[in-house]
Symmetry: C2
Subunit: 331 residues, 2 copies
């Protein structure tokens, strides 16, 4: 009746908590956030009042009042399992840094630019773009207003977090060579930047070991892998590096179809360490780009600019690692 809370039905507000605890809203706010100021006794009373009322701060109001949102906007192709793993890791990394992630999938209807617009309208303080396909000019324009961190794609003058493709391919060659394979082949991923880096890295690593590698041109698809099998076998290769896991699965599938004899003789390595590679019957040796590390680096990169005042762009290159499974063995 002569009620404490203004609207009996709604959620309790900070004012309700403060009143119940017998302090001012300002003090209650500090107490709940664990900030310096209130005495231990006040903190205790405020906490008790909050939990008695079931109070939880309204983040919308907090963001407005604090004059900063502590929001990191993330665009991603959500069906891409690699992006999904990154997003999951970003969530945790952001939480550790005191930020909240705002995920916006790129859909057919609302493309990447549209997603960015929504994130900006929500006043995200930085943008983490996974596998962005925006033109560099547009990225630069965005970065002029708010820090942009590109994950998995390079762009001059912008913050970039990516895996070291050359190191990854070197790991593949090293692994196959140590197993005793001397005739190596690569089924490429086509004409993209990443595909080129993997092919070039493979060739360089193989040649530095005095090997004479074969390259079969392909694309990032299972079909490319399946189509390449005949040529690979004809060339007498025993170890194959596939441009990514999908290509590798296509290869494995075709090899097994060709009969157990040849299949047993071919070692296949993929790239991405996708869930595909982990499937029980695939057990594909693959290069992992370590999504958790990439995510942590991406958050760190953004926070450095937001809170650390960094101005110059960085290019964070992380070392991938090889996950050895059953698809590789001695020749």
């Amino acid at each position: 009746m002569s009620g404490a809370s203004s609207r009996p039905g709604g959620r309790p507000t900070l004012a309700d908590v403060a009143e119940r605890a017998g302090v001012s809203p300002g003090t209650a706010s500090l107490a709940l956030r664990g900030a310096a100021g209130p005495s231990a006794a006040s903190v205790e009373r405020v906490r008790a009042a909050a939990s008695a009322l079931g109070y939880r701060a309204d983040r919308t109001a907090s963001r407005l009042a604090a004059r900063r949102t502590r929001l990191l906007g993330v665009t991603l192709t959500i069906r891409n399992t690699f992006h999904a793993e990154l997003a999951e890791a970003l969530q945790d990394a952001a939480e550790d840094a005191g930020y909240q992630v705002l995920l916006h999938p790129v859909t057919a209807r609302r493309g990447e630019a549209g997603a960015v617009e929504v994130l900006l309208d929500s006043r995200c303080e930085a943008l983490l773009l996974l596998g962005s396909e925006l033109p560099s000019s547009q990225l630069a324009a965005l970065d002029a207003h708010d820090p942009v961190v590109l994950v998995g794609r390079r762009a001059p003058g912008l913050d970039v977090v990516r895996a070291d493709e050359a190191a990854g391919t070197a790991l593949v060659v090293e692994h196959l060579a140590e197993l005793g394979h001397t005739r190596l082949a690569h089924v490429s991923g086509g004409g993209s930047e990443v595909a080129h880096e993997r092919r070039d890295g493979f060739l360089a690593a193989a040649r530095s070991r005095g090997l004479d590698p074969l390259v079969v041109e392909g694309s990032f698809s299972e079909d490319a892998g399946a189509a390449a099998v005949a040529e690979v076998l004809a060339a007498g290769a025993t170890g194959v590096f596939a441009a990514n896991d999908r290509v590798a699965v296509g290869l494995l599938d075709a090899v097994r179809g060709a009969g157990p004899r040849e299949g047993a003789a071919l070692s296949v390595v993929g790239y991405d360490d996708s869930p595909l590679a982990r499937l029980g019957h695939v057990r594909l040796t693959s290069v992992s780009q370590d999504p958790a590390a990439l995510a942590a680096a991406a958050v760190r990169t953004a926070v450095e600019r937001l809170d650390g005042g960094r101005e110059d762009p960085v290019d964070v290159v992380l070392a991938p690692h090889l996950v050895v499974r059953g698809s590789t063995g001695r020749p």
Copy 2:
């Protein structure tokens, strides 16, 4: 110098736009939202001012002022490609309904309950839980405060949106029977509710056609499929219904390893129509739960309660459809 905008550096605010257009902030707000009130001339001037200044409304402030957020909170297991497809479709469906989706992945660190907490703190008006694993009591408690829509799981007294498992399995049996298969087998998904529904649906549909179906107990994994092949072939079955696509892929893989002769004779149907099924070399016939339709129904269900005042829970059951690909044929 004698500036219009308060902070030269920051973003323009509604006040800046209003001043430039020579109207009050209230009028400018209505004009930009396309709401009734302002004259056509005012709307034009406000729009021009906004675009000249590059103004975009601050969603944080709008949500607070409007006393409602128009936010739909979604929890999902983001690595799950089915969830990812749902999320993408939810995005578009929500936009059509004038809502924004707030995605929160369930991670190892922050479980489903934690994700829900964040969504609630952000004052989402409804919760759409994909594949929730919360106990019904907790779900009911949540629903008492804010509408909860469960996607893909049943719970008494709550809004549910799901695919019709019985209808899906009937489609499978019908398809195989029409192709001429008379000896059918099922590799089950184990003890979960969904797995039971699929097994029971399959059995009922097969028996209603006078067939004597075989069931091999399994789990939702490739290994279960691979392990079941021998038994399936020994029983003389020519058509197999796998509990989901992963099981189906395991089956196909093992069958192909067994040699082209038997492989050609076995028709395999999966469930989920996951990206796995669409892979070029898999080409798996599979039951699609139609993520877009599920998403649209989920948003509609939430909006009905938020804006339509519906009180009674609904159980929306959508008909799945069969996507026929290369893994099935005549016996």
